[in-house]
Symmetry: C2
Subunit: 314 residues, 2 copies
């Protein structure tokens, strides 16, 4: 099995690469290192287990030759910074929607027939029921990142319906863990590293979302792909509960030892325009396939805080 | 009220322009005439009721200055040929998704706060319940055209959620009528004009969809906009029943007088890869607002056949 992993040097992608290498797949990582970190997969490259191509998915012509002989594409590359869309409006269009088009088009031209795509819970938009099932509608995302993920899903549907592709679409909850390069825990640790006396929290801290540990996430992806075979397979990936931002702040303060830090809320019900204050996915489709999630949200947060504190504070 | 209508020289757009002019709105039509026909709005231009700009929506810089002073954008421009995506894969991306991004971005920069968007029933994909309600999910379109409409919806959701836009999204059934420039009735008449002895029908003819007359469509759009005021307003527009392709063939054969034509089916359950064989929208949200659809599907087909036969055969 030859796998191409876009964003394979990134946070989630590098964990997926670990699993694929461990089970003996041949892996080609395609990453422009805009947020990926080569160190995450350096050992695999040095051991000859992973080929690496520093290629930008916006460059269709550069992508085409990389698809030859590939059995499945794991398309994880994306702009990871959801907030960025509030300031720069074409990043998600270019790095998300157009990049996904290029991935699909280069697959079509090379005859590659399978894709697994990292979509997101943010496609459900605001006011979805909690927990949110896969068949919730209408999906009207409120962030530019969410719009690009929805556009990616639609493009994949079109390639399945028109060109006979087979696809797995995963709507991720907040994925956290080792090698995290962004997100609330990452941000909190960096803020406390800079100033251990105070922690600024965006919003009122009552935001409450579901968190999934990255190892659980990539194990779930591979479990679903091994156990499903529809032309298009859509699965929420998350944990069975939520953790509030206030709770995350408390956990990070405790784990960093900055227990005297004052926690200061910027106020409002959300971190930024386009943020969804409360989100929890229904994961019964996943668990019905026999998958067991190891970490609940709070355990995933505490585990992540510990490993990121090691990575960031040393 | 100053309205900007993208695709305003096109089939549906020109009917909308008629209505807007009739009620006294100031109208700027932006159309690159790739499928639009200047003749459709020539009288309004000559009467000074409509300004016209031959501008391509793919050109963001050209679009920006047109937005100044606009109160509402009716975004109807798109590639109208759904089948094209089976051969050329970037048309819907460019003319649909990226064009919609450019419309939204130029609106944001100019402070235009309202948009009405022509989406489509094809966003629901295959195997949706009939009639299909607006809250059906998951929406996984199977055509590249459908993917671009879904991407447009997502972008609009993002601009509403992030930048405070107000939006009306209309998911159109098959819209037919005077000035039609594409679609099954248009195709049948052209085939019979070329060869009155036979009519080739794509698929087995058992495809069965809901048809809405274009006057009903634009009246419904304006009715909904006048009677709703959420930040995002999503409405199916269609009629209350369906008409089969076999029935359409019989109607066109009768209305053209080509009653001896042999009707030949290419076979298969659909016209082309990415075609949805059966579609009917639930329109109770529309009718609950007090709107009455004038034509049922068969009446709309017969009416359209008569007017297009006049336009095409003279």
């Amino acid at each position: 099995m030859r796998a191409l992993v876009t964003g394979g040097a990134g946070f989630i992608g590098s964990h997926l690469v670990d699993r694929l290498v461990a089970r003996g797949d041949k892996v080609l990582v395609v990453d422009n290192l805009s947020s990926g970190v080569l160190d995450f997969i350096k050992d695999h490259i040095e051991n000859g287990k992973v080929d690496f191509s520093n290629t930008d998915l916006k460059d269709l012509d550069a992508l085409k030759p990389l698809m030859h002989g590939v059995d499945i594409v794991y398309h994880l590359a994306a702009n990871p910074d959801i907030r960025l869309g509030t300031r720069i409006t074409d990043t998600d269009l270019n790095e998300g929607t157009i990049a996904t088009y290029n991935v699909l088009e280069s697959m079509r031209l090379a005859g590659v027939k399978k894709i697994a795509f990292a979509s997101s819970s943010v496609v459900y938009g605001e006011d979805a029921p909690m927990p949110t099932p896969e068949d919730h509608g209408p999906c009207l995302p409120i962030s530019l990142y969410g719009a690009s993920k929805q556009a990616g899903e639609g493009l994949i549907g079109a390639w399945v319906g028109t060109f006979g592709l087979q696809a797995w679409i995963f709507r991720f909850a907040n994925i956290i863990g080792e090698r995290g390069t962004h997100g609330v825990i990452f941000d909190f640790i960096h803020k406390l590293k800079k100033d251990p006396s105070r922690l600024e929290v965006l919003g009122n801290g009552l935001q409450e979302k579901s968190y999934m540990e990255v190892g659980d996430c990539v194990d779930a992806m591979l479990h679903v792909i091994s156990n499903t075979n529809e032309s298009i397979n859509l699965y929420n990936l998350g944990s069975n509960d939520t953790c509030s931002v206030r709770n995350i702040a408390a956990i990070v303060v405790k784990e960093t030892g900055c227990t005297d830090a004052s926690i200061e809320y910027t106020g409002g019900d959300r971190g930024w325009a386009g943020d969804i204050p409360k989100a929890m996915l229904a994961i019964n489709r996943l668990t019905d396939l026999g998958f067991k999630v190891n970490y609940d949200s709070e355990e995933a947060v505490a585990h992540t805080a510990r490993v990121l504190i090691q990575e960031i504070m040393g």
